[in-house]
Amino acid sequence: MRWRHLFRVLHRDIGYVCVALTLAYGLSGLAVNHIEDWNPNYKFASREVDIGPLEGTIDERAKQMIAKLELDPRQVRGHFAETDTQLRVFLGEGQEAVVDTRTGRGTLKTVTTRAVLFEVNSLHLNNLKGAWTYVADLFAIALMFLALTGAVMMKGDRGITGRGKYFIGAGLAIPIAAIVYLYA
């Protein structure tokens, strides 16, 4: 039938268009599925520092901290007294120094984005909002189209009326079983 041929052509060409985003979303899906175990967007690191006691007002202590840690003053965004003795200095790119002003001991924390994952997660989770929402909508519709045309593309014993229906049933049974297990 002509419609089957048309579906095959559309399935093939729309499939090509969807390759990149399918891989990106799949990769991001794997990453964010395990968000309880790791941070899929950022890497955090810290190192211990010991710069000796700091004295004076909070502003003076912050200046001493910046000098002793040899931080670039142009990178400093500001400081905050967490307690009377714990001082935090914030730098660009999410860096932060936290020091106990009585002892001078503390940590210098850095944060970096995970290459590739940060970007694909932004797309997958639609952090960009706006125009990307419509791109993502089109992609979702394309995936549904691929699923439907894929299901009816073959005819005969290997088609949806043959063994295909059992595979579709199996694929349907998995999420239904999960929902029944979770909410029953």
């Binding site: 965004r77 007294a81 730098l91 999410g94 125009a131």
Partner: protein, 173 residues
């Protein structure tokens, strides 16, 4: 960051607020801001003209309960997992207010710490029982990799936060 900046450039000005949030009476009555605050806007941004002191909110939270306010200060911490909250510094030592949004409605970058923020939302006040306070402290410790000592929670916790509708981040005040 450069890569993400390129992506953002493609979709510049695309941020928008949650569709489900209707303007509250106090928002509607607020005087319009004549010039939009420069910086990165999240959600619906800020529209309330007057800045409310975080110290005042924390000192008398019941007086501000369910009211829409705008606060400002330094970003101290950002939700490291989903970017769904940030803490904004108050005027006094250790003083801070959490700004919370529904996961995914706005995503605050973790590297925003130290930036200057203006944030608008509804003041939420919730008093936990002692048992709930312990569970809350345990959850926070587990979620954000902090140590939890049950003995440190000796009295019910009063949670005061802003349920956010929008914010603007800038490099400096």
């Amino acid at each position: 960051m450069l890569r993400f900046a390129l992506l953002l450039a493609l979709f510049a000005g695309c941020d928008r607020g949650p569709k489900s949030e209707a303007a509250t009476p106090s928002q509607a009555a607020a005087a319009p801001v004549t010039a939009p605050a420069p910086g990165k806007t999240f959600g619906a941004g800020v529209s309330v003209a007057e800045v409310t002191s975080i110290s005042k909110i924390l000192a008398t939270p019941e007086a501000f309960k369910d009211k829409t306010v705008k606060v400002e200060g330094m970003v101290l911490d950002v939700c490291p997992k989903r970017g769904c909250w940030f803490e904004i510094a108050g005027e006094a030592t250790g003083q801070k207010l959490k700004f919370k949004v529904v996961d995914g409605e706005m995503v605050f970058p973790v590297d925003s710490k130290g930036m200057y923020a203006q944030a608008q939302g509804k003041v939420s006040v919730k008093e936990l029982t002692l048992e709930e306070s312990k569970q809350h402290a345990e959850y926070e410790a587990k979620e954000y990799g902090k140590t939890y000592d049950p003995a440190s929670v000796t009295k019910p916790t009063l949670i005061v936060r802003l349920d956010g509708t929008g914010a603007v981040f800038r490099d400096k005040k």
